[in-house]
């Protein structure tokens, strides 16, 4: 165990809670040999020792029914635990058993875990982690994902006071702010009744706050340079120094290859050193052996370069963390920032700027893609090109020796052309800071590395519940970010966010020409807790022109022989109806289905209804043209109803 980690006992935790005015049970600490004055029975008698973490598992907790029993039981425990500092008598509480924990994560710092409690907390894992920066409303919203909320709302004769419970969580957050040395707290169970909330057990650990990386705001135009040097430029097509230069051929700014071996590379004049370049250089792409990087970075600094992109690999990931640190120190002296090392580089399509060794460049667009995996970038660009998705910028973070993903995220929120930020994340160092920027722009995260936490042996409930993935997901979601399960889902959600932003409301309208897919879509909606809008108020109006066997309910089944004209008429009625918040239009190719015309009608439906509309065109070749029409008019379109409904659900802001 960490030597700096100091256990705190139950009465110590109660004292901490009292400091912020948080409720505790009625309790009395009894020193060895003392005779307690205690009148409330039944009560629990517990051994207090900083060396015993799991009291009940070693028989250190006894239930006491009367005053007569009490002294005898104290003697019993005294004999059993000669090392005990004393004993705690705690009243018996009743109510719903909740779990409340505190976990100080190196990245997100303090988070409060809350959910169903009791001995099965680790079995059902019905716990969410809320960062202490979340306000009351954000806390409540996240809490609604737990089954505890159903219990509190009333279940099988039990009922609790939700406001008091959230009050308690707010107090715990306050405690974390006041005592940052709290590393972990385990309050389990916390009893919630209709008029009271109080913990019935408590333990924890204190430790000094770990040293963290400092957030340093990036200058506005750091990734929009007007001049770039390629240090290590090469004529050998197998080298990164060749690919980098090649990709800069279409760049509209100045390009300076640097390599003492050449006079000229790919038609550009080449310089022996960056210091020999006759005009200022804002950005340097460095592709020289690791040993030479220090010298090169120093020269860049002297030249007044703002951003050094160290493409070279073989640093921390190869056991040379020291060299990496020196690189950063060197750069700091010149107020220069470093991207990488071990980065693919960055791309700003609107400037024709591909400052990376990726062979493919995406079209300009409104998605900013930040990635901690370089290999993923090439796959993403390739796929995005096929699906005609454009990017405002793509940044490969590499080893993040200096520039960290949170800093690029913050910068992306300031870019007007960026509508959505997509980030592939393996580990965030500045998690706490990241949370502060999530409200600024819609963002979608893919987080890798789920497994680690599960394998680590955890000493407490909180420790074992708060895996890295879980913590990341809960924290990011509670502050307004979206976490996608996979790349495909992330793309799907980006499609929606770039057009509609976070979606409001919860009432879905489904319009379809096929019953089966309509039923499936409504199944999925129910799974995600999305309501089906009630169309009763417009039923008559629709019946006036729809065939007699139309569905009469939502999903609005226009029947298999629906033409674009029937869709149009239905859309005219439905667009005037205020009883829905967003709509999914399903089209399957049947004999009368004029797909391109229907696609145009869907575009028009979106215009006249002024609400988010997405389409699902099921099929292959027959629906291709329809999909293109919808894409070119920025109507999000899917082939699978599940993906359409899931994307709507994920995009929901409230």
């Amino acid at each position: 165990m960490d030597l700096k980690k100091k256990p705190i006992t139950e009465p110590e935790v109660y004292l901490l809670l009292k400091e912020v005015g948080a409720p505790t049970p009625k309790y009395l600490f009894v020193k060895r040999g003392e005779t307690p004055k205690w009148e409330i029975f039944p009560a629990y008698l517990k051994v207090v020792s900083s060396r015993i973490y799991h009291k009940s598992e070693v028989g250190g907790v006894l239930k006491v029914y009367s005053k007569e029993e009490l002294n005898g039981k104290i003697e019993e425990l005294s004999r059993k635990f000669p090392q005990a500092e004393g004993f705690l008598i705690v009243e018996e509480l009743k109510g719903i058993e909740a779990f409340v924990g505190v976990k100080r994560d190196p990245s997100f710092l303090h988070t409060v875990g809350a959910g169903s409690g009791g001995i099965f907390v680790e079995l059902f894992k019905d716990v969410v982690f809320i960062p202490i920066s979340a306000d009351r409303e954000e806390t409540l919203k996240k809490l609604r994902e737990t089954k505890l909320i159903k219990l509190i709302g009333g279940f099988r004769g039990l009922r609790g006071n939700l406001e008091l419970f959230v009050d308690f969580l707010e107090k715990v957050k306050e405690l974390c702010r006041k005592k940052p040395e709290i590393e972990e707290l385990d309050l389990n169970p916390v009893f919630i009744s209709e008029d009271r909330v109080a913990p019935a057990d408590a333990k924890g650990f204190l430790s000094p706050l770990p040293k963290r990386k400092e957030f340093r705001e990036l200058p506005e135009n750091l990734f929009r340079p007007s001049s770039i040097a390629v240090i290590g430029a090469s004529k050998n097509p197998k080298k990164a120094g060749y690919a980098l230069l090649r990709n800069l051929e279409r760049f509209r700014g100045k390009v300076f290859p640097v390599n003492p071996k050449y006079e000229e590379v790919l038609g550009f004049k080449c310089y022996p050193s960056i210091l020999d370049v006759p005009s200022p250089v804002e950005c340097a792409l460095i592709a020289v052996p690791p040993e030479v990087t220090l010298k090169v970075v120093e020269e860049c600094g002297k030249k007044g370069v703002k951003l050094s992109v160290v493409i070279t690999a073989g640093f921390k990931e190869a056991g040379r963390a020291e060299l990496e640190r020196e690189l950063v120190e060197k750069a700091k002296n010149f107020r220069m920032r470093i991207l990488g090392p071990n980065t693919l580089g960055f791309i700003v399509p609107s400037l024709g700027l591909n400052a990376s060794f990726s062979s493919v460049t995406p079209p300009p667009g409104d998605i900013s893609f930040l990635s901690q995996s370089g290999a993923l970038i090439t796959a993403v660009i390739d796929r995005a090109n096929e699906e005609k998705i454009g990017f405002s910028e793509i940044i490969s973070l590499g080893n993040q020796s200096d520039i960290e993903i949170t800093e690029t995220f913050e910068l992306a929120t300031r870019k007007e052309e960026t509508k959505v930020i997509l980030a592939y994340v393996e580990g965030v160092e500045l998690g706490r800071e990241l949370l502060n920027f999530l409200k600024r722009k819609p963002s979608v995260f893919i987080k890798a590395g789920r497994g680690e936490a599960g394998k680590r042996a955890a000493s407490s409930h909180t420790g074992s519940l708060a895996g890295d993935y879980k913590l990341f997901k809960d924290c990011v979601e509670s502050k307004g970010g979206i976490v996608a399960e996979c790349l495909e889902e992330a793309f799907d959600v980006c499609q929606l966010l770039r057009v509609y932003g976070r979606i409001e409301g919860n009432r879905l309208l489904i319009v379809t020409n096929a019953g089966g897919p309509g039923t499936l879509a409504s199944d999925y909606a129910e799974t995600f807790g999305i309501e089906l809008a009630d169309i009763e108020p417009v039923k008559e109006e629709l019946s006036a022109f729809l065939p007699p066997n139309w569905s009469k309910i939502n999903p609005v089944d226009l029947i298999g022989d629906a033409t674009s004209d029937r869709y149009r008429k239905a859309f005219n009625v439905l667009s005037k109806y205020e009883g829905w918040d967003f709509s999914l239009v399903i089209v399957t190719p049947q004999s009368m289905t004029d797909i391109p015309q229907i696609a145009h009608e869907i575009v028009r439906f979106r215009e006249i209804s002024k609400r988010p509309v997405v389409a699902c065109l099921m099929g292959g070749h027959s629906v291709k043209l329809g999909i293109e029409i919808l894409k070119s008019d920025s109507v999000p379109v899917f082939k699978e109803p599940l993906r359409a409904v899931k994307s709507l659900w994920k995009s929901k802001g409230s």
Copy 2:
């Protein structure tokens, strides 16, 4: 409430359990006014009345600590419940609280529910439903999906005897077989300790077995006719009678249009009635108005037709159930079978036979697709054509007035050319029978109508009431079928099943040229409970030729500059290693990545390793050719790691 539904009280349930030798708690039934002889304390005293279903919620359960208390409490309950038949004294049990229930479903008949019990059973829904046809092993396998299994295996000081619990479930199954009039049983909680399993509460309902549709085996060649009549053949391209005939132009058997209005249609000689056709007719496609169908079906019967496909809609789904019943009765007289009404028809690509009004025909293949939605069929064929997926047959079930999906399923299991059965299901009537055929061939189901919202949409569709989704999923899975969440997933899984059948083992080997996607794939594997194979025994051998920064663990990261040659060498080593059961090879397009060559190497890897290998080629245009190579060599290929891993997981047989 159903008048035929008769409540049974706790002591009555215990008597039933005793009949099959299932354990009960120690208990004593006390009639009003009787003085009990009972010595075990604490105990529970409960009111017994067939009119009180939830005893504790009305205060009808009291805990009794001593003999002295007992009579007083009986008097208390007597006063409170003057209508009570008597009182039950039940010993207090200890252990893990499980839930055991019986639900007799109209389709699957008796199923046994088992999982975590106690008052929160409905909150955590940790229950699986096992059909009574499931054997001990199948029961145990399904049970392993519950968290109850973890509790029984030992959790926080509790532990239970799994064998005794499964014994108990077997006894409950036996009881269902012996007393089919049991409609519902609720044994909650059932206490599981290390040496005993017994229920602590019980209630239920009896009712007569409902009348069910009879399973009638379909003749071998029912959907492989050599002669077909189209009754209601038309020259009007907007009519089904035109589309049907048109689609038969390529059929290699005999085609006879029937319509008194024409001498000839689309170049075929036309007959006034099927009785006028000079040679035998095996199959009739009927597209005449509903009113005429009875007469037409009678004529078909007289002609000796084996299968009448009633394309015509406007029967049960339009409130004319009686007409539908008459149709079936009529057909039965002639031993003729009816597909539909309200069906799209059927397609057997290998015979050039499109006996449907779908405008598209898929290529021949090895998937049999059975669908309760006609509209879905056109979308599926269209997509399958694009993805080059072939079918051995496609059958649209329509209203299932006669031929039910289970009967077509059974028939498909007898077709040699069918390797996988894919079924879109809204409601199955012959669920119990279906379960008996699942082991014969790999099968994938998409089930619509999950909840309230779904049910509404389903009942307005083909007129079939959607059964309970959970019950369907659990029953089908426990007997060897696969239930996919959506059409896309179903296609994905079919890809695997048609090549590998159900996959054995649980150790996954991941080979990749990109760290990020490799990590994501291993995350997904962990989520699904798939182990990562240990590659320690071949580490040295791989290190001999892989670059020094290769991953050294599984996922085997060959590093971004991996060529087909590096993949080949790694495959050579890994194919000889027996420590993995199935493999996922990930390829992302990077500068050195020769995709088509790597695709060929993956095909070869599958050959030499003789185990299931699937590929994930991430990207767009760059990976197209590779995907085609893999598809033409029947290596399942995906673009998204999650879909690859999920498909492997879903395809696992054990």
